[in-house]
């Protein structure tokens, strides 16, 4: 089986790798490149634990052949922030109690980022809609949505729409 040479930008770094035709992006990331932050929950696109950003959009890395990311830009949770410099979403997830078991967290963070990148001030409904492909069994989603909303608000220096909602 001929290997395929691909080049793509992973977390801001250009990478060249050889992949088998049937290698999935999730396995390339986890097993070859050691980026285990991206999780396998169902393997069939039904849970979103494997979510990464492909050219800025949230996608299921368990459903993508690695060969397809040739020429693309991929961001995983490892590219979002680090111990020293957390992404605002990561800070908010910690502060708001959006993390319980943490298995859905990396995918959830990336779905949130892909939303905020195109819609800096989403409503709670829009947030819920955008993370609907990321299953969480622990939190009931409330604190996850709170965390995303908090970042959206901070970004715009606006009065938090949640507070406004609670005041109704």
């Amino acid at each position: 089986m001929d290997k395929i040479k691909i080049q793509f930008v992973l977390n801001g770094e250009t990478r060249q790798v050889e992949v088998e035709p049937d290698l999935l992006l999730i396995d390339l990331l986890r097993e070859r490149l050691g980026l285990t932050g991206t999780k396998v929950g169902c393997g069939e696109g039904d849970c979103g634990a494997c979510t990464v950003l492909l050219n800025g959009k949230n996608v299921n890395s368990c459903l993508l052949l690695a060969a397809r990311v040739n020429g693309c830009e991929v961001v995983t949770v490892e590219g979002l922030g680090s111990y020293d410099k957390l992404h605002p979403l990561q800070e908010a997830f910690i502060a708001e109690g959006a993390v319980q078991c943490g298995f859905c967290t990396p995918g959830m963070l990336l779905s949130a980022k892909s939303l905020l990148d195109v819609n800096a001030r989403p409503t709670r409904e829009e947030i819920a809609r955008h993370i609907a492909g990321n299953l969480c069994r622990c939190t009931g989603y409330t604190k996850i949505i709170n965390a995303i909303e908090k970042v959206a608000c901070a970004d715009r220096h606006c009065a938090c729409s949640r507070e406004a909602e609670e005041g109704r």
């Binding site: 039904d46 819920a128 609907a132 299953l135 939190t139 009931g140 989603y141 409330t142």
Partner: protein, 355 residues
């Protein structure tokens, strides 16, 4: 036509195994710099026991939360704490950790009492300091007197004799060759149940809850939307209120799935819906708005009054939703899950009877 309804569900839940011993152990080591290591067999599966146990140890010893590190669930180094089940870890491992922390702290108190020239009972710990109780009687006067003497002798007032840092006490302990280790364990006060009558004391304490659900039922399709859930939980004492809320919110979501959509379908013992495309969990668009309410009726045997909340969070949800559906459209579904087809069939039945 869409109709709204409101229903209530209550529950109680015995914390710990039923009528069986279920002890937990813990080790606490107060280290040279005054930071603390807690060893516990308690498995944190995301519910936050590492955090709650760190808070309990910090409170008991008198250090800050960030001074405590919990090493958990490694049979090579941690004592058995039993299962993370039965909503038991905050109560049982919490008590074990508190007891271990108290044992380690006792060693510090002995030395601190000498350093401060007071009896141990007069010392309170907090924020990395050991202080002489402000309103303490005789010894207070003694130390006040001592201070006055010091001032009289041209020395400073000697506030160092009124409080001393835990790190300083530890240094003193080490100079004396004393390690500050404690261990503890806890087993709740229960009895077995009589085989014929079931009489006995199965649990040392119970958690309680009331949930109220608001639903909207589409009479044409039988579809149920859960709009809001009010969830009031007596947890004894919330060690970490935000994490308690997280347990309640997550529990309501699982309870909602149980009420309306989740069901393993079997054929000859084989699971037919064995993936997430066919076994459906609630998504972010399915869950209601949840109003968690923490009620604190402290349990005197609990660590700082705490009981448990993990399981109680989901127990009354399906019951409340079922009662809300009845309130909305006047039909009672007695077999879970309450699926649209069951509601529609009952509504038709009711209509036919009426006609």
């Amino acid at each position: 036509m869409k109709k709204r309804g409101v229903g209530m569900g209550c529950m109680w839940y015995g914390v710990g195994n039923t009528g069986l011993p279920n002890p937990a152990g813990a080790h606490v080591d107060i280290l040279d710099d005054g930071t603390v290591l807690v060893l516990t067999g308690c498995a944190d599966i995301g519910q936050g026991s590492d955090t709650a146990l760190a808070q309990i140890a910090a409170e008991e010893i008198g250090v800050r939360y960030e001074d405590v590190r919990v090493v958990s669930a490694d049979t090579g180094v941690t004592p058995d704490a039993g299962a993370t089940s039965a909503s038991r870890q905050t109560y049982i491992s919490g008590n074990a950790v508190r007891s271990a922390a108290r044992a380690a702290k006792q060693l510090i108190l002995e030395t601190a009492a000498e350093m401060l020239g007071v009896s141990q009972e007069e010392i309170i710990a907090g924020d990395r300091l050991l202080k002489v109780r402000a309103a303490s009687g005789k010894s207070q006067a003694f130390t006040d007197c001592q201070s006055e003497c010091r001032v009289g002798l041209g020395l400073d007032s000697g506030s160092d004799t009124r409080e001393v840092s835990i790190a300083e006490v530890i240094a003193k302990c080490r100079m004396k060759g004393k390690l500050t280790l404690g261990h503890g364990w806890y087993n709740p006060d229960t009895t077995g149940l009589d085989a014929e009558t079931g009489q006995g004391r199965p649990y040392a304490t119970y958690a309680f809850a009331t949930q109220v659900a608001e639903v909207e039922v589409d009479e044409d399709t039988g579809e149920v939307t859960v709009l809001r859930v009010v969830a009031a939980h007596d947890v004894g004492r919330a060690i970490n209120p935000r994490n308690v809320e997280g347990q309640i919110e997550g529990g309501c979501a699982i309870g909602m799935g149980y009420a309306l959509m989740e069901e393993i379908k079997l054929q000859e013992g084989n699971v037919l819906n064995c993936n997430f495309a066919t076994y459906l969990l609630p998504t972010s668009l399915d869950v209601p708005e949840i109003y968690p309410l923490i009620v604190e009726d402290p349990e005197k045997t609990g660590p700082f009054g705490a009981k448990g909340v993990g399981e109680p969070a989901l127990i009354p949800t399906a019951a409340a939703i079922a009662n809300a559906v009845y309130d909305a459209v006047g039909v009672r579904i007695t077999d879970l899950p309450i699926t649209p087809d069951k509601i529609l069939a009952k509504l038709k039945e009711k209509q036919n009877k009426g006609a």
